[in-house]
């Protein structure tokens, strides 16, 4: 952890450890150490420091809902709002469990984008019609239902280029 950002920052070894953890967080310190040619105690120390410094926020299981027999549809919503109400609306949306991600984005105008899930189309429509459309300041909503996913990954850490 040589270069700095706030109190602690990451060097290439940290980045390589993070990349391996992103691929599989259940690997042992020894397995990671073997792949990177460093001692498992070094890996342990680096991970502890990265956890404490907040670079690693949590470890989570990614569940295959299809295998679980829980049919879910995913949709991407774009909500055009009165600019005065944008933040209020985004904050309210963030509280709903159906909303997985919510953000404000700017292209030609400021909009809210959100990724939502529902059991089926009827539930999705009911959620949008009962809880989102009536929020003060909502001007228009476009919703696209995901039909097929071609890639789904989180941002992967890469070693710095020399």
């Amino acid at each position: 952890m040589k270069s700095k950002s706030q109190d602690v920052s990451l060097d290439d070894l940290d980045r390589q450890i993070l990349r391996l953890l992103q691929e599989d967080a259940k690997q042992t310190y020894g397995e990671i150490g073997n792949k990177l040619n460093v001692a498992h105690s070094t890996v342990y120390d680096r991970i502890q420091k990265m956890e404490q410094a907040g670079f690693i926020t949590k470890y989570e299981a990614i569940v295959d809902t299809e295998k679980m027999g829980v049919p879910l549809i995913t949709a991407h919503m774009t909500i055009t709002t009165d600019p005065k109400e944008t933040e209020n609306i985004a904050n309210k949306m963030a509280k709903y469990s159906q909303v997985l991600e919510v953000a404000t984005s700017f292209s030609e105008e400021l909009v809210i984008t959100a990724k939502v899930v529902a059991k089926d189309q009827a539930e999705l429509h009911s959620f949008v019609a009962r809880l989102i459309a009536p929020l003060p300041g909502v001007l228009r909503i476009r919703t696209a239902i995901v039909t097929r996913k071609f890639k789904e990954e989180r941002f992967g850490i890469r070693p710095r280029k020399e």
């Binding site: 949008v128 459309a133 009536p134 929020l135 239902i145």
Partner: protein, 99 residues
Amino acid sequence: MRDEAFYFFTSIGNYTGHSAASLDEFLLRIKDIDVKSLEFHLFREDFEKWIAQTLGDALLSDDIRSLRIQKVTGNALRDRLYLVVSRRLKELKRPLVAR
């Protein structure tokens, strides 16, 4: 928030930005809303349900159901919907006893 209002969509999750909180407002919206929205809600039975359950007007709800059963679409739907709603509004606004 207008909890009891009707919110016009053109398809699942696609909100037009227009709503109606009364039968008068509903009539105004029928005139200029995208006809796709009228078709979407008619065939989902949304109009019938909102008019019967929220406005409590079973007679008008029945009239709209008959439009659905007849599979009226396009501008013919807009015209006939406008006709049945405006006729009903006139009836409701007519004094019970003629002066």
